[in-house]
Symmetry: C2
Subunit: 216 residues, 2 copies
Amino acid sequence: MVATKSRQRSTAPGDPARRRLIEAGMKIFAERGFDGTTTRDIASEVGLSPASLYVHFRSKEQLLYVISLGGHQFVDGLVREALEVSDDPAEQMGALAEGVVAGHLDRHDVARVINNEVERLGPDHQDEILRMRGEVTSRIADTIERGIAAGIFDPVDVPVTAVAITSLISDCCRWYRTDDADEVAHIAAQYRRLVLGMLGHREDRSGRGTGLRRAG
Amino acid sequence: MVATKSRQRSTAPGDPARRRLIEAGMKIFAERGFDGTTTRDIASEVGLSPASLYVHFRSKEQLLYVISLGGHQFVDGLVREALEVSDDPAEQMGALAEGVVAGHLDRHDVARVINNEVERLGPDHQDEILRMRGEVTSRIADTIERGIAAGIFDPVDVPVTAVAITSLISDCCRWYRTDDADEVAHIAAQYRRLVLGMLGHREDRSGRGTGLRRAG
DNA sequence: GTCTATAGCGGGATAGAC
DNA sequence: GTCTATCCCGCTATAGAC
């Protein structure tokens, strides 16, 4: 199982109202979508007047941007953590799938927002967020390539497979919504198997991969 | 490769305006989301006044419902077609993955709408559409079970795997947008491999599955 | 940093002529 | 079946007092 730590958001610590607005935005954007959410919804959720939102954020779009940025930093953290567990591409990919899925189910509100509301960002913010998402896919592609080179993954089409894995482990928050930690762990473990299966990695084949480097 | 025929929608044939509104709705809902689309956007796209929409649909939500229903009937058709290619669960699942992905890329506008806008439907319509989506997952689960029974799939967690496959082959329209038929065919073929990999089905293992029934 | 009040605009849907 | 005109409402964002 992969831990889900480092929840830091880009919020100043001494500003509770701002953070509460962010948390409310995550929750309500996830439920109703950006365009289905009013600034009144968010403000009243935290017991503030609609106008107060504009003390902390230039616009409703800016709030979405801050949430999206924090969400992607969270995912980046999950990915980096996973890649550090080993030098073995199969271990890395397994940890990555399991960790990202667990993180997405754990924080399914943010996960839904960063998946579904990217296109509601302004052009510049959208570009930036999509670049961050692209970096996750790049890391996955790189791991696949190392696994193929090590002979422990099938010689799949790398770009398509990297996108498919990104898609699969991100989209889980569309299908599951649970606070049961055991259930989260179970689902995440299954997704690990499924992702390694996509790469043709069988446990009984790992003996073949004598060329792989173990972590120092 | 799997064909993408039977495009019939639930539109009366002698009513071009209604159909044009449906096509416009597919396009614009896909681009901007249901809540980001105005009835004026849709009407002006087909050269009608805003009021004309209400001659053909009770409400904006009703238009979304009609589009969603047609989209799910389209997907249902793809699934049924795929299941008819053979009695071999691996052939069926491969055809299903390839066909659904090809269909989703071919008609990525409808695909995006049925994936992203379900929750904008009213409660009853939403229930109905989610039931249709659930039936697709059920058919996938059934195919997985038959494959496991035949010894050609790994003994995976059936519910989780069925959801994951549904997720993967539906979500492709988030990542790809192309009118190049060759590219569509290539991506769909890759997804076939990936899905069969999730099930632990290797081509070189199919000899093991002597217990499987061939189509009559 | 919070509030009340409101500007300014645009939305879904309807009325009624043609 | 289409139009023009419009109702009525709610939205984002701002002004200005406290």
